[in-house]
């Protein structure tokens, strides 16, 4: 398997506060990586750096062999223009904790928007494809509903369909079930399972340990801006080597 994502020595500060202290991570194509870590450990920041919603201060991130956000000229990195970055982002799906659906567009138009906006598909074609994707997340019959007319779980499934609409090489999930009522978590995780089974490369930040155990190829434990431990789920979840991983897991599992 070739690497889909390579993160090398990434540092990121907000003002004087360094949030990521040199993160290294390799994500093979077609694999599922689950990122665990306490609140404030930098999980969202790391995920947002991968599609350049946050600029990193040092280090490099490549997705599918392409350097994100910069062009390398000799040993200098020149920041790319807005349009180029937007084109790179179109290859990386992102699913937010708070869904961020466009409230004034129907579910169908939410999904069809990006392919039309990026010139990837014509309007009719994009809508037909959006219908297919809504079918895949089990919402074929809610295509004409507005986001506020949908339950949280349904909204998140629309958001996943929206992220799929550009046929991304990689999808990033930032706590996709944390804003949901407990009984709605399952329907969203089912969609994630199906995506994993179809061979989609995914990085998922979540506190759902059961899901991690079942679906993840690699579990990464992030603490205070450093990757403390990573490996297959049975190793990291059942035989953690670091005290902090143990402490975190004992808190999450009770």
């Amino acid at each position: 398997m070739t690497a889909m994502v390579e993160i090398r020595d990434v540092h990121k500060s907000f003002g004087a506060h360094e949030v990521l202290h040199g993160v290294d991570l390799t994500v093979p194509g077609g694999s599922v990586t689950v990122v665990l870590g306490p609140s404030g450990s930098g999980k969202s920041t790391l995920l947002r750096a991968i599609n350049h919603l946050e600029k990193v201060d040092r280090g490099t991130i490549t997705v599918d062999g392409e350097l994100i956000g910069y062009r390398r000229v000799g040993d200098r990195l020149n920041e790319l223009g807005e349009r180029h970055i937007l084109r790179q982002r179109a290859r990386i799906g992102f699913v937010f904790q708070s869904f961020n659906l466009f409230p004034h567009l129907t579910a169908l138009d939410n999904v069809a928007e990006a392919p039309v906006a990026t010139g990837r598909r014509g309007r009719a074609d994009a809508r037909a494809y959006a219908r297919t994707l809504l079918g895949r997340v089990g919402l074929a019959d809610r295509a004409d509903a507005y986001p506020r007319q949908l339950s949280g779980g349904q909204q998140q499934r629309v958001a996943i369909a929206r992220a799929l609409a550009l046929d991304p090489a990689l999808i990033l999930f930032d706590e996709p079930t944390s804003a949901l009522d407990p009984e709605l978590v399952g329907e969203v995780l089912d969609v994630l399972r199906a995506l994993a089974a179809a061979g989609t490369t995914m990085i998922v930040v979540t506190h759902e340990i059961g899901f991690a155990r079942e679906v993840a190829d690699t579990v990464v434990f992030l603490d205070a801006g450093r990757i403390v431990e990573q490996g297959p789920p049975e190793q990291v979840l059942d035989h953690p080597r670091h005290e902090r991983t143990k402490a975190f897991l004992s808190k999450v599992l009770t």
């Binding site: 179109a90 290859r91 466009f102």
Partner: protein, 309 residues
Amino acid sequence: MSLVSTPTPITPTPPATLTVVPARHPGRWIASAVVLVLAAQFAHGLATNPGWDWPTFTGYFFERSVLRALAVTLELTLAGAVLGFLGGVLLAAMRMSRSPILQALSWTYVWVFRSVPLIVQLLFWANLGYLYDTLQIGVPFGPGFHELSTARLVGPFGAALLGLALHEAAYAGEIVRAGLLSVDQGQLEAAAALGIPRPRQFRRIVLPQAMRAILPSAANELINLLKSTSVVYVLAIGELFYQVQVVYGRNGRVVPLLMVATVWYVLLTALLSILQFYVERRFARGALRTLPPTPVQRLRTALSRGAAR
């Protein structure tokens, strides 16, 4: 002690014997009666006081010169609103841009044009020819290609429109900015994460959502503008207020002619308010789970309910 309370036994009464008696509100009845008497008195005064001179009012309400003046008022309002809001969008975009120079420029514009009273500003524009005899198109600080007489380019109507539009832009800029600020940051992030180009993010994602916050204030501003057009009478432009002054200057019937202008302003404002209702309703799609019924729909349900009874 038992935690399960035994229910209090209710004396079994056959339900048919119980009648619901609505609460009485004597205070409400007295207040309504007082208000109705006052309103009747006022209406009686309007009808019987000869000072209102209704024959003169009706004679002039649809008179040719009044209707022509009404058209000028509408023209100034519409053109002023369109130009003003275009300027407002530009000012808001500048203010929210990342360039400190554009930000400062926008801030200064709003500061200056909100400070100068409209009437003073209008007189300045009317006297532009005194400051600049001719206007030149050419390279900044360099040679000019084409020269125009200021008085020919900016006539009284042009001066009035310029004044209204520039004044309006300052207020519209703040209204648009308030609307843009009301859109959740997450919307821009989602749009950026999907790789949607900037101009389309603005047009398709941000602006339609901002419209919800913009519309009520914008309608307020438009109605304000409709009435502000009466200020341009100082430039001797034949809009509604100027025209009724001309007429009562001739025939001395001040009150009925002021009523002519007043009733037209009231009717136009009513029209704009109805328009506002429907436009707001259009932009409420998705913001509300179900749209409230229009007055027409409400009337229809009330009628069909009455018929069913």
